[in-house]
């Protein structure tokens, strides 16, 4: 089987990129040959990653026209068994190319992650969505939202396709490089962009300022143009010395941070899925999330983590204090979280591969 993957990016940091990498890894596991066209990757970013003989990745450095031309040429040269589109922004041009007669009958799949499909879908995209074979929704909320936003979209075409922990995370931290952080800390891993304030970091900083344990610190892994604002918040709350912003860390360092934290806290209001929760669970970090949208699929209250109302600072403060003060609760959440991403858990890579196989091996169904 040969699949064409058309992605916005593959090798940057972020949930969508991680989903793409996991999907590619699943294809490799299934012996599927993959041609990947990645809009934003560059030859340099691709070159930094190990090559697989079954995978051919080309990057276009953000040049849209070059990307579209390459998609056209690729579909002109070769017939694919499946087309996989990684982002709704690519849907309309790719479907237009396919309908030129190049791949009219090739089953086409789109992944709908989160915020990119929640906030309104143009009429052209709505028409395109009604025509493709399947829309893979990473969470129940995304599916519900698509049904609300796209009248007439056949529910049978929507499939829940949750993220999973990629194979690359399936190792243990080496325990080095931890001197950069304090002994006792909670951890957040996220983008720090002004437009992403829904991630709830301000709420975490506010809650930390109220926690009785004044030796507890907060480590924030991520970068973006909002770091100065967040540092200002910490300063104004008088806890700047307890918040540590780590701009970029290696995968090894991140694993180590997950493994050693008292809790992983990301009370985001608009998480499409929240793959960082899975990573935290894998490394045994008790998770605190907001009871909103995609996170509801990932975190089960009192089983794999604690859920609080988005923006509820007193509740978040109480949740942090509970986890810090109660070793038995910490242990229970650790075990519950770990079970979700290992063995027969719902979010293991093996389950992801199974879902991918079912999807690809199902009787080919063309676009409408």
């Amino acid at each position: 089987m040969r699949v064409l993957l058309l992605l916005t990016d593959l090798y940057a940091n972020g949930g969508i990129q991680r989903f793409n990498r996991t999907f590619l890894a699943a294809c490799v596991r299934m012996d599927v040959r993959c041609d990947v066209l990645s809009l934003h990757d560059t030859e340099a970013s691709i070159g930094r990653h190990a090559a697989d003989p079954k995978v051919c990745v080309r990057g276009f450095g953000g040049h849209r026209l070059a990307f579209i031309a390459a998609a056209f040429a690729t579909l002109w040269r070769r017939r694919y068994d499946r087309i996989f589109i990684g982002h709704i922004n690519l849907l309309v041009p790719i479907l237009a190319i396919a309908r030129l007669g190049l791949a009219t009958w090739t089953p086409t799949y789109l992944v709908a992650h989160g915020i990119e499909v929640w906030c309104g879908i143009s009429p052209a995209r709505q028409r395109a969505l009604r025509r493709i074979t399947r829309v893979l929704c990473v969470s129940h909320y995304t599916r519900t939202r698509l049904q609300e936003l796209v009248p007439g979209l056949d529910p049978a075409r929507l499939r829940i396709f949750p993220n999973a922990l990629s194979e690359i995370w399936r190792c243990q931290p080496d325990g080095d490089g931890q001197s950069i952080v304090p002994e006792r800390y909670i951890l957040s891993v996220t983008r720090l962009h002004r437009g992403d304030r829904y991630k709830g970091l301000v709420t975490v900083i506010e809650a930390l300022s109220m926690v009785a344990d004044t030796d507890l610190h907060h480590v924030v892994v991520g970068h973006g143009n909002d770091a100065a604002f967040l540092q200002g918040v910490a300063f104004r709350l008088g806890i700047a010395h307890r918040i540590h912003f780590l701009n970029r860390v290696s995968d090894d360092e991140l694993m180590d941070l997950y493994a050693r934290c008292m809790a992983f806290v990301l009370p985001s209001g608009k998480e499409g899925f929240g793959i960082v929760f899975l990573e935290a669970m894998y490394f045994g970090a008790p998770v605190i999330a907001a009871a909103e949208k995609g996170a509801l699929d990932v975190v089960r209250h009192e089983e794999t983590g604690l859920l609080v109302r988005f923006g509820d600072v007193p509740a978040l403060c109480a949740a942090i204090e509970r986890i810090i003060a109660d070793p038995a609760l910490r242990e229970r959440l650790r075990r519950g979280g770990k079970a979700a991403v290992t063995d027969a858990g719902a979010f293991t890579f093996e389950r992801f591969v199974e879902r991918s196989r079912e999807m690809f091996l199902a009787a080919p169904e063309s676009n409408a």
Partner: protein, 634 residues
Amino acid sequence: MCGILGLFDPGGIEQDLFTFSAALDRLKRRGPDDEGLWHDPFIQLGHRRLAIVDLSPAGHQPMVSGDRRYVIVFNGEIYNHRELRRRLDPPGGWASQSDTETLLEAYRAWGPGCLDLLNGMFAFAIWDREERRVFLARDRMGVKPLYLGERGGRFAFGSRPGAVTRLLQQDPLDFEPGALRAYLELGYVPAPLSFHRHVRKLPPAHYAIVDARGERVVRYWDFRCVAPDPSMRRRTETELAEELEALLHASVRERLMSDVPLGAFLSGGVDSALVVAAMKAVGVEHPRTFTINFREAAFDEGLAAAAAARHLGVDHVHETVTVDSLLELLPEYAAEYDEPFADSSAFPTMALARLARRHVTVALTGDGADEIFGGYHYYPLIERLRRTLEWSPLARAAVGTVARALPAHRAKLLAGALRQPDVVDLFNYLRSVGKDYAPLLDADVLRATASSTDWFAQYASSFAVDLSPAETAMRLDAGFTLPELFLQKVDVATMAFSLEARCPMTDYRLVEWAMRLPVEYKLRGSTGKFLLKRVLFKYLPEAHVRRPKMGFGVPIAAWLRGPLAEWARELVYDESVMSRLPLERQRVRALLEDQRSGRREAHPLLWTVLMLLYFVRMHGARVESPGATRRAVA
């Protein structure tokens, strides 16, 4: 209305009761009926009482618990205290009928958790003699003020910042640069800032615990994250209006708890009329209501208030004054506000409080309705501008450039609005009094301090997801403008005349309900407070309810060109005042000249600056007697 004061030193306190009494004297007007002091080796506590509930000496404060472990000083009212008493069983039985004792026992029984059970307006401190710990708390919406200060290891708190600075022996003009910037931008100082360095406000819905290890400030209630409830749309408008009315009646009924005469402010508007209508509906046969009428028709709501009073059948009291006569209150205004404060509606509010105090000791007001039910004119505007926030920066810049070139003031405002990147910035732009304050302020202060946008953005980060722009603006107003500007104004203006104000619209159950109410029941086209008005249709003719909103305005621009022109000029050119502030003098003077010459209408910002300068003069030099100042401004 009372005043509380305290000084705590974990290392042991120097017993300077003379200084403490002098500081407590600054609270005299808050509580003219009684004074109390209590101290031990670590703390001094003081209280000034305006007796409202249980007028007997049993309500004296500071109040010590039966087991002598806890001591409380309390300002405010706990409206559900009788209900709480039924759940409490103090070891030695009840010693009084006062809500102070109920609060003390509630804290003994439930600790900080007691705050979740309180319905009221309050600021209090409880000293735990066993743990050597002070517990301080402020009500959910910030009706009652509470200032905290720390200097040299000593911790002070009180109902007025001036009393706290005095206890800390701090120069009242040792100001906090961030507060100065916020004041110039907004016309008030937002919590947790206070104008004074080392002093800050305890924000609404927070408590603080102070002991030898330091201080911890904790939020105990949060309306910000309450999401609009789509299921409310399944109810009819009539059902929602009935629900709202029932909540309002419950709130008003609880606020009638008083052993002294009680009345209400009544303007020609929706909010106060609703409160008065609710008073009648819950059984007050002849509520006494109060209005200030102005001889100048442009500012007068007296006729509308009288018409509302007639329809509602209340005992209406009014006083007619000239707008210019309010200037007599300027020295009082500056003396009572321990921070610079630029809302000119404080003048008529003070005049109204003065009138009401001649007849009653407690007055209900309609404050809070505009913020939680969508009464301000800019909410529909923000809703209309929501689409422009989705435009590309280039498109916004292009339209903004065209709008800026147009001569109309509104076009220039639109141009400014289009420059704002998101709804929080847009709110800040529309709400700020000094849109071009920055050039007046020293560049170093600007660099070192946060803009009010940062405060708003920080606050808004906890708002429920997917709020409309207008709802975002309402919640910012409910979190900042209401407690820091309007409730503070009402507190200080009524305090100046020993009157207690109660605000039924700030009842937390009503606020939570309003937060759940979908936005279309607040704004309908350009109509604000849609559902609230619907409730009022039951009591007043529709034409009266639909009158355009008027507000409590005074003619600042005309004053600055007329009776206050010389006073303003003298202030702006007073080197002894200007030298105390990091302001760009030439630019401040240019602002004044622009206003005087009519080249530019800059009175909101200019008034803000003048109130700052006047504050510095009053609190810095302390050379003018109120009489001399009155002559100067007249």
